[in-house]
Symmetry: C2
Subunit: 80 residues, 2 copies
Amino acid sequence: MKAIVNVYLKQGVLDPQGKATLHALESLGFTGVKDVRIGKQIVLELDASNATEAKAEVEKMSQTLLANTVIEDYNIEIVQ
Amino acid sequence: MKAIVNVYLKQGVLDPQGKATLHALESLGFTGVKDVRIGKQIVLELDASNATEAKAEVEKMSQTLLANTVIEDYNIEIVQ
């Protein structure tokens, strides 16, 4: 079973990597971009058969390691 | 209009950040994880009205700046 965890900065938290990308896009001539935010996409290959249990386990992993919940939010998607 | 670009390392390219995360999860007692791969999720706020044109534009951005196509693959999703 595969789990995808998207970790992104909370609204209002400054994203310097996103800002740098926005300016780089502008200087390359891409003028239609208003904002860029950059997050992480973590793909986990799990040894689990039950999607509900897998999601609960990945929730725990996100809380303890994958996301810094002070400044980041995350969402979990179970596939297959 | 919002575009989401997921950038991930190609199959076969070593992912040290993913490996480190896998070992950290194991040492925290999460034993059911077989593999971890870490990619980027880039969220772009676009000044566009047409989804097809927006996707073509984001495709160009991905090729020129957002992804290193030698070692990375990407997929584009247009939302709203």
